[in-house]
Amino acid sequence: MSRILEYSSLETAVKWSKLPSPPGFANQASSTSKTSSKKSSSGSKTKDSFDEIKEKRAWDFATSPAKQLPMQAFMLYMSGGGVQIFSMGIVFMLLMSPFKAVFAMNEAFAQFAPSSAKNPKATSTLILQKLLYVVCNLLTLGVGLWKCRSMGLLPTGSGDWLAFETRWPAPEISLY
C-alpha cells in the first residue's frame, strides 16, 4: 500500500487547510476534501499514524550524518595527506558542520515534532533522536580530527609544546 504524503494536510494546525478552494478547483478540491474529510472522520487514528511517520522521519534525519561518512571518508582519501587548499577546505567543513548542525538541531527537528508536543522547538521533544543526531555528528567531527591528526595538525606530541617549556638559570655556574 502506497501512501501519498501530503504535508499540508498532516498539520492540523496549518491555517491554509481551512481555506476554501480557489474557483475552478472545485473538483479536485472536493475530492481532496472528500478524502481528507474521510480521513478526518477517523480523526485520532490518522493523527497517530502521521506522528508515527514523523518519528520515523526523525530517526532517519538523526542518522543522516552517519550515512554521509563513507562519502566524506572518500573525499578525505582523495584530497590527500598534504596541507593544501582542498584538503584544508574539506577538513574545515568536517570540523565545522557538526557544530553548525548541533546548534541548529532544534530548528531542524521541529518539523518532525509530534502533534502532541507543546513546543516543537524545545530540546526535550524527540530527545532520543536528538541524542543520536549528536552522536552521529560527533562521528563526523571525529573523522575530521582523525584527518587533522594524520596531517600532523593536532598538537599531540611533546614536540608541539616544546616552545612553551621554560628553564631557569643553572644552579651552578662554571667559570671559563
Binding site: 614536540g159 616544546l162 662554571s174 667559570l175
Partner: protein
Amino acid sequence: MRFLPLLFLIHALGCWAIHESDVGTVDWHKKLVGIPLYKSSATAPRFASVDDRNVILTATANNVLAALDAKDGTVAWRYVFDPEDRIAGFYQNGNTVVTLSGPGGAIARGLDIKTGVLTFERRLHPNSEGLLVDPNDLGKGIAIGTTSQDVYTLTNGHTVTRLDKSTGKPSWTWSGQDQSSLTLFTKLLTTTDTVYVIGVSSSFASYTLHIVSLSSSTGQVLADSEIPSSIVNASADLFAFVHSGSAFAAWLEKGNARSLSLSPTLKNKKAQTLPKQSFEELLDVGLSDLGLFVGKGSRGSTVINLVDNASLGSTIGSSDASTIYAGFHADGKPHIAKSFWSTSAEKYTLEVNALDASAPTTLPLEHTDVAHLTLHVASSGEPQVFLTTESGTVQLYTGTQVQWSREESLATTTIAEFVELPEQISAEADAKGESFTHRLLRHAVQAQDFPRYFSSFVRRFVTGSYASATSAATAAADGKLSRDAFGFRQVIVTASHVGGKVFGIDSSNGDILWSRALGAGVTPSKIFTIKAVSDGVDPEVVIVTEKRSEEARDTVVFHLNALTGEDVAGSGTTAVRGQGSDAFLLDYGSKFIVILDDLQRVHFYPDNEESRRAFADSHSKLSLPSLASKNGHTVIFGSHFAFNEDAGEHPVAYRTWELPLPKDERVQTIDHAHRGPVASLGKVLGDRTTLYKYLNPRLFIAYTVTASKNLCGLYLVDSAKGTVIYQVQLPANNGACNIQATLSENWLVYHYYESEVPSSDVHRTKGYRVVTVELYEGQGPDDKTESSDMSSFDKAATDVFAFEESYIFPHAISALAPTSTKFGISGKDLIVATKNHKIQSFPRRLLNPRRPHRKPTSQEAEEGLFQYDPIIYDDPKRVISHTYEVANVQKIVTAPALLESTSMVFAFGLDMFLTRVAPSGTFDVLSENFNKAQLVLTVSGLIAAIMFTRPMVQRKRLREKWYM
C-alpha cells in the same frame, strides 16, 4: 614524497657557494707574512731587484719566506713553510732564492724570485738526523759558486753539498766528521775553485778555529787546518767573507778583531789583528764584501776594514743597544744607516751616511723600538731603509718619507673579541633642559635636510633599495664609529703576544682603527668585554696580561675603550703581584673580572665593593676546572670558592675533585664550550616526540694522551662535580694527539687522524675523521630530565645518551668553530680552517649523527635527514674564503650580528680573514631579487583602476534605482 630526501640533499649541499659579486663586500682578507727574523743575517730582510722592481725578501717568525713589493708594501709572493720545517736561511742566486730549512738544514729549496714558485726541492738528510742547535741558523749556510752559480750548502754543521743551480741535483757531498765530533762548521765560502768551510772545535774554555778547504769541482779536501783562537760565541763572533776573489775569516777574540786571509793550501796561519782598538761586538752590516764591519767598542762604534786591518774614520755613533746599524754598498761605495736617539732633536732619528764628507740624510722616526734596519741606495743616490720594530711594525722609508708601513704583529695574534658598535645618533638633542628657542632653531637647522630626506625616502619607497644582507657594511657618512643597519660593522679587538700589541680592527673592511703597544714583556692572555653598547656607554674591553720584567712576573690588567683604544681609568693596574693563574669574566648583576693568583686567592677587577658583593653572593655556586702539576705530570681538578678567615680579605679557591685517569694517561689541555643563547630545548622528531638536549652549561672538554697505548682521549667533564659525561678513546698518530674539538649546546664535533689500520678490518682506512656527537637527556625520546637547570649533584645529571657518527674528512684542519647567532634560532654550521689554507663551512644537516644507514623513512625525511654517506666530499662550493689563501689559521672566532640569520666568522693565525655566513639562509631580510618596483606598480595600478571604476559603478547603481 619520494624526492623529498633528494630535495633536502640538494638544499643541504648546494647552497653554499659564495657569489663572486660578494667577494670583497661581505669579506676581507689581510695577507700577512709575520715579523722578520732579523736576529740572524741569514734570515734578515734584504733588498732584491726583479725586473726593475724592487722587492724586500725576508724570512719571518711565522716561518714564511716573503717578498714584499718595495713600491707599495704588498706581498709579491710568499712561501709558507710547515711548522716543523723551520727556515734557517735564504740566499739569492740570480733569479732563484735558495732556502735551507728543517732540522739541521734538512731541505734545500729553490724558489723563483719573481713568483715564489718552487723550482726545486732537495732533501739533504732525514729530519731525524738533523742536528738541533740554538740559534737555528748555526751550522747551516749557503754559498753560491762564483762562476758556475751552483749552490753549496752547509748542513748539520759538518756536511757540504754542491747542488745544481736549477735542479738542485747534488754533484758531490763532503762530510766533515761524524756527528760525535767536537767540530761544528758554521761558515761556508766559495772562491773560483775552492770552497772553504770554517768552523770551531770546542776546547776547554773557548773554541779553536777549524778551516777546511775543498775542491769546488770534486769536493775533495785540499787542506785542513786548525788555528788556535779563543772565540767564545761561535754564532756571534765568527765571520767569513770574500773580498775581491779571496776569502777571509774574521773573528773577535778578547776584544781584538782578527782576520785571516785564506788560500787553498791553508798555509797562512797568522791572523792579523786590528791594532789599538778593542771591541765588545763586531757587526756584519752587509758590507762584508768590502771587508767592512762595524765594531762596537766602549767609546762608540767605528767602521773597520778587516782586509787592510784599519779603521775608517772616527766613531759613527754610540755603541749602546738602542743604536741600530745597517750598511749597503753599490759600486764599492759604502753607506751606513743608523737609528739612534738624537739628543739635539729630542727624537728617535734615522741617519744615512755615505762615509765621506757629504752631509748625511736624517729623518725622524715614528717608532722608538727599532730592532733592525736594512739599507738600500738606489743608483740615483736616494736611500731606502727597511725598518723592523720590536713590536712588529715594518716600514719602508724612501728618502725622508715613509713609503709604506705594515703591522706584522697581527700575524702573532692570539686572542680576539668582537665588540658591538653604538648606533649612530642622528640628532644630538639633549631632551631635557632644552629651551624653546633652542629647539626651534635646531629644528630649523635640521629642516634644511628635509628635501634630501624626502627624495631619498621616495626613492627607497619606490625602488626598495634597502640594505641587503650581502651589501657592504658601510661607514657612517660623518666618519664616526657607528654600526650599520644589521650590525655587521663591529670592532674586533685583537692582541698579539709580540710586544703586547693591541689592535682595534674594523670588521667591515679590516682597517686598523687604533693600535696600542702595552709595553715590552707584556703577554696578553685573555680579553673580555666588560661594558657593551647595551650598557649605554662606549664599549670597554679588559685585557688580562702577564708582564715579565727582570724582577718579577705580574698580572697586569689593561682596561681600554674599544672604540678609541684609550685607557679607561684603572688601566694598567697590577692586579696580582706575581704570576696569575687564570682570569674569568663573571656576569652576576654586574660584570667584573675574577683573577686567581698562583696561591688560588681571588682578586677582582674592578676591585670595588660592588664586585666583592656580587662575588660573595655567587661564590657558592661557582666552580672552576683547571690544570695543575702533580707528581711531575698534569692533572685536571675542579675548584670551588670559599671565604677563609686565614687568607685575609681574599676569597680562596679550594680543590674539590680531581679527574682520575689511568696510570700513564697524560692530560694535554682543557677547552671550554662555546656559549650562546639556546633557542630550542630539544629536537622534535618526525613523530613529534622530542629528544631533549642535554644542556649542561658546565661541560668542558679535556684532551689526554696515553703514549704507551698510542691512544688519545677526549672527555666531556662537568666542572662542578668532575663527572665524566662522555668519553672516547681515539688512535694517536705515532704518539701525537692532535684532536680538534668544539662543543656548543649539546653538539660535540671532533676531528682526528685515524692512523691505525688493522689488516682484518677492511672498513677502516687511514685518513682524517670528523665525528659528530649529540647528547640528549634520559634514555630516548620524550625522556626529560631538565638538564639545563639541574644541579650537577642531582642523580639524573648523568642520565644522558649520545648519538654518534663518524665521517671521512677530506682535509687536515687547524681550527674549527660553530657559527653563533644572536638568539641561536638559526642553524649552526661548522666552520673549519683546513691545512690547505681555506676556510670551509659544513652544514649541520650534513653532520647530523642521526642520518640513517638506509633510505630514510618519510618521517626521517620530514626531519631533514638523508642517507648516511661515510665520506664528506671535498666540495669547493663549501669554501667561504673564495680564492684567498688564508694560511695557518690558529683560531676561528664567530660572533652574532644584529640579524639573527647571520654570523660573523673571523679567522686568524698568519693571515686574517673575516666573512659572514647565514647557516639557515637570510630569512630575516628581503631577498635580493624581491621586486619591490613590481609590487608598487601593481598596487598603484589597482588604486588607479578603483579610482577610475568607482564613479562608473556609482552611476550604474543610480540608474538601476531609477529604471528598475
